[in-house]
Symmetry: C2
Subunit: 274 residues, 2 copies
């Protein structure tokens, strides 16, 4: 099939590489000329095209920062062929689905999506054809979405080596708040606190693991956090509460409560692994 | 030299394996018969011995849980040869140094130590001769510690592939509060929050990295947290504050403050890497 990609960053570039490996034709668009050029040089797209041209493809992946998804859909939906399927890659789904139901209520060929993969570096220079191997790729179709549109996206997702998973947008947003956005916020806090220390060389393996994603693209991640503010705020408050409980237990020399803090985590970890 | 090891767990077992690889003779002791047997089977020690016998070695590594270091030193110091050098491996140093200065004020051959290495699994079954390669090994000698005692420990540390680093015990404790104990607490919180989710399969790379150490041995880690309660409480409060700032910024739709949260982390990460 012919695939359009709007936004040739880390994710869009990786989609292009993966689908070209699978012998599809890929048309790419990016507002940044430098991204477009890097994407072509790295083989992420067969050629660059305008939004109007990209909108004629069989399937268009919109892989732009969260706050740009609405404006991009606004430009794309009116000029696409009626049968063109459009899917996005934003890591927050409720707002995108709300936007589509409000601005394009009759649209039956939009499938909300979120590939659960990424990297601490951004841009097409870091794109990889292996980015989505063994990853989950969330899809959040609406009730009125055409079944064949969903199937088409699912097929391409599988060709990229990922597993498509259909899920409700709100459930998705609560999950990523805990599984992705909170970890990124905690990593950011750690990195910042560590920068105060005079001996930053004294780090061990746990520090390296917990801070890998501590310096991610501020523009992208502030958009992600803002996009998911309802769920993320709840989750941040819950984490604050647990930190406070541990601190108060230590200050009050309540050794049983300290032990119980680590016991709960051990039990939870066991649950994960079975 | 002849090396004694008191406590044949993950760390003690790894010290034994590394130093036997370097052709030293290793005598081991553990209060748990099963640990002793596993250690012998895995080659962590040449033979098992009583505390009194181990105390006759040239250097004794005390690698027991933090709260057991004091009692173990109390048993060991009176029965050792005057020239025997004793070092510990506890990840909190102020309390150990305080204990020695109070209980054995004339002792010039005790060298506080902390190998900055570990693993999320505990016990001698997971011991490795490579555990300390490229790791820092903190040493916190007191003013009256014999220079040749420090040199002897430093020599063995280097033979294990680690880099000895001399540092003040309070500075050490503040560093590990941020670089190790806080990351473990955050990982514990994440693991616990993740266990509530119905779709625990929807995890990505950042979750895996940030929760690797989320289910560590509760007995050991509650002792570590309690042992470092002064520094850890401060650090927990600071992390709570930053989480609250991000939450309030999201709740008040203060997009600039959200952006600034991620900007600070990016700048701090850059500082780390240069």
């Amino acid at each position: 099939v012919t695939v359009g990609i709007v936004g040739l960053g880390l994710i869009g570039g990786s989609i292009g590489l993966s689908l070209r490996h699978a012998r599809h034709t890929v048309l790419g668009f990016d507002t940044l000329a430098a991204h477009g050029q890097t994407a072509i040089n790295r083989g992420c797209a067969d050629s660059l095209a305008s939004v109007e041209e990209v909108a004629q493809a069989d399937v268009v992946f919109v892989s732009v920062p969260p706050l740009s998804v609405g404006p991009m859909l606004e430009a794309l939906l009116p000029v696409k062929r009626p049968e063109t399927v459009v899917t996005d890659c934003a890591s927050v789904k409720s707002e995108v689905l709300k936007w589509v139901s409000e601005h394009a209520p009759g649209e039956r060929r939009f499938v909300g999506g979120h590939p659960m993969a990424g990297h601490e570096k951004s841009g097409p220079a870091f794109a990889s054809a292996w980015m989505f191997r063994n990853a989950r790729w969330i899809l959040t179709p609406a009730k009125n979405t055409d079944k064949d549109a969903i199937k088409l996206v699912e097929g391409l997702v599988k060709e990229m080596g990922a597993t498509p998973v259909r899920i409700d947008p709100q459930v998705h947003d609560r999950h990523v708040a805990i599984l992705s956005h909170l970890p990124h916020a905690l990593a950011a806090i750690l990195v910042e606190m560590g920068a105060e220390l005079e001996r930053a060389d004294l780090v061990g393996g746990s520090w390296r693991d917990l801070t890998r994603v501590g310096g991610v693209d501020p523009e992208l991640w502030s958009q992600i956090a803002i996009g998911n503010k309802v769920e993320l705020s709840k989750v941040l408050q819950q984490a604050e509460g647990r930190l406070r409980e541990l601190r108060v237990a230590l200050e009050q020399e309540d050794d049983k409560a300290v032990r119980s803090f680590f016991d709960s985590a051990r039990a939870a970890k066991g649950k994960h692994e079975t």
